[in-house]
Chain length 402, copies 2
């Protein structure tokens, strides 16, 4: 399908009509900087979410899952610096109070406010700082950028974007955070998506799952799945017709594609900003017997510590890629595998190909490294994103709470 949408320059989660945001430095996060944010819609939204599959779920995750049973939300309050995970009954009470305080600031019902937290596990939220902080937040149409920074922990750059369909007149905005404890499992990290499109709850749910499956679920930074992973999608309908966008329609198709591309953009931004990362790694598996196999193979290669360290060192140690796909659980036949590094063929039908080492090193030295595996077993394809593994990942993660 021809693209019927485009990215908005400096787009953010408040680019869609009727969304406002703001943030403050409440003193929750170690060091300085914004650490408490609010995102609100002028009118109630249809809202859906995807959450961590970790059996240890942070209090805000439990609260969001309860509240989204209504399919409705008007705002999200988020803090960084403390995950409010492994915090027992007190944690649940704190998450609920955090929502109520935000509801008071915005002037909506407490049950219409969702909550997200990110940071160290096992510490109670500093509620007094949170109470004071929330009173200082001013919401604005341009506040998405502040919100993006307030969500950051080990992230070095904010991740935000928005796509617009001129023909259909809607915008989808998004903000995400995440650089560590990131491994694809239904939903990863924190991500808030907003749209002014008029989309019913069922299609919204379906569209978010579809988009997450080709984006967030295809990212791995370090193989660890967080207790706090949350993706929220809120649609307020302010830009749409009175008639909701339906799945299968032309408009529905544009909405789905626009949402997919926005999520892929944010997923790639997270992989590129992985803790200690110096390169974005993109692994595409073609010719798999089915999509599940293609995804599993691509995710396994992009998650391999040995593949990641070799890419970090620009070392064309391609055997590690083949070894990773071999242990992925996917039925592969060695004598059928082709392997490409960028456009350079390293393996053809299972036979090592002579290649110029300097050329391989040059490809591996780029800021984006593309690996393509052709399994020659079928027609399914999938792409996964990750990053290289550097000494800096180890150094920073060995001193996280110190």
């Amino acid at each position: 399908m021809e693209a019927k949408f485009g990215f908005i320059p400096s787009g953010s989660v408040t680019s869609p009509e009727g969304f406002r945001a703001g943030a403050t430095d409440a003193g929750i996060k170690k060091g300085k900087g914004l650490d408490l944010g609010l995102l609100a819609s002028e009118v109630p939204c249809s809202a859906v979410g995807l959450f961590t599959t970790n059996r240890i779920k942070a209090a805000p995750v439990v609260l969001c899952q309860q509240r989204l049973r209504t399919g409705r939300a008007a705002a999200v309050v988020v803090n960084s610096g403390c995950a409010n995970a492994c915090t027992g009954e007190q944690g649940l009470a704190d998450a609920a109070e955090m929502a109520s305080l935000a509801a008071g600031v915005i002037g909506v019902a407490p049950e219409d406010v969702l909550v997200a937290s990110t940071g160290v596990i096992g510490h109670q939220l500093p509620m007094e700082r949170l109470r004071n902080g929330l009173r200082q937040i001013a919401l604005s149409r341009d506040g998405g950028h502040e919100l993006a920074r307030a969500m950051m922990t080990t992230d070095t750059v904010p991740k935000e974007a928005a796509v617009k369909s001129d023909e259909d007149g809607f915008i989808i905005g998004g903000v995400a955070k995440g650089a560590g404890m990131i491994h694809p499992d239904l939903a990863t990290f924190l991500c808030f998506l907003t749209t002014d499109a008029n989309v019913g709850l069922d299609f919204l749910k379906f569209a978010l799952r579809q988009a997450a499956d080709v984006s967030f679920n295809m990212v791995s930074i370090d193989g660890d799945t967080s207790t706090n992973d949350t993706v929220l999608l809120m649609a307020n309908g302010l830009a749409g017709d009175d008639k909701p966008i339906t799945p299968g329609s032309r408009q529905g198709e544009v909405f789905q594609q626009a949402l997919n591309q926005l999520c892929i953009h944010l997923a790639r931004a997270m992989a590129r900003d992985g803790e200690g990362a110096t390169k974005l790694v993109e692994v595409t598996v073609n010719g798999a017997p089915d999509v599940a196999a293609a995804k599993l193979a691509a995710r396994t290669v992009v998650s391999s510590s040995l593949v990641k360290t070799a890419i970090y060192g620009s070392d064309p140690n391609w055997g590690r890629i083949v070894a990773a796909v071999g242990r992925s659980g996917v039925e592969v036949i060695e004598a059928k595998i082709d392997l490409y590094l960028g456009n350079l063929c390293l393996l053809k039908a299972g036979r090592p190909q002579p290649f110029a080492r300097e050329e391989a090193v040059k490809i591996l030295s780029g800021s984006e490294v593309a690996i393509v595996l052709q399994l020659n077993l079928g027609n399914a394809t999938a792409t996964a994103w990750g990053c290289d593994l550097s000494e800096e990942y180890v150094t920073s993660n060995s001193q996280y709470t110190s």
Copy 2:
């Protein structure tokens, strides 16, 4: 059961009666040092093996699997510096020739010789060096120590041991190599076990599987499963009675326990020598609903990059341990979990316990770090071994073929 066996000082794979070994520097391995070894029994052995579950299997693995259908072997030839993996038809031919050359040196039938290789994937064996090297090897009763060194790649120390049952008069010896591309999956790394006990093929197979399940299959260094993993167990019967040891008998129980302890000893030695490792990490999960769940939970925690980096930095960031067990796939209930670091309780029934940070740091600063999780869901228990993750792991693995 009371221990009926003990470790032999300076024991090796040639400690059991009738085994000899030797090694040479054939110039296969980058840098200097022994890289080609031979292990032989005076008389034909009952022999069984466990091999990588990686679908990409190195040529020597394919050859061993074929040859062990007879349940018989007399010798093993092994090289380091080249894995002979992803080497196609030529690789298979080279592995067979390697066995034939060794058979000529020892004076046995080629089909009674097993083969193992370890090193870089995707390179053909340097057959001329191998031919010359094999002619230089002299076998001796004390040659196990040389063999252990000839198998090393990134290993910093040889791994070998032997256990002896005085009452039953048998010895089991073992040698192993492995420091990277190590993740539990039926069999890991290279390990040769020898015994002079008289054990039939069926019990030998059963005993090896039992021992591997509580030792090698409970080790993870970096989550990558090799293409070359091979564990071989050869029994020549020279020390035993004419009557074979049977499973279920007192002797059979002693043999199984002795084999288990030998394999656990070698597994721990590998974890301690993990690439870049500064500490041995032992994770015990108690109170699991079944053994499979206990193993999965223990293996997931010991494999977590975030747990490993925190231990490296002696940072008591215990939330990562709970997050890892939560994503393991095991049904856990947060409000039931107890967590101990050494003897220090960090979490009791899901509630964070106040603890002295200095005490936790002191425990984490030791050369062995013990983590105990009590799930309080059942009676099953399992222990896994691994190591911390240091900058040195990244540095060395980013330049492996450079």
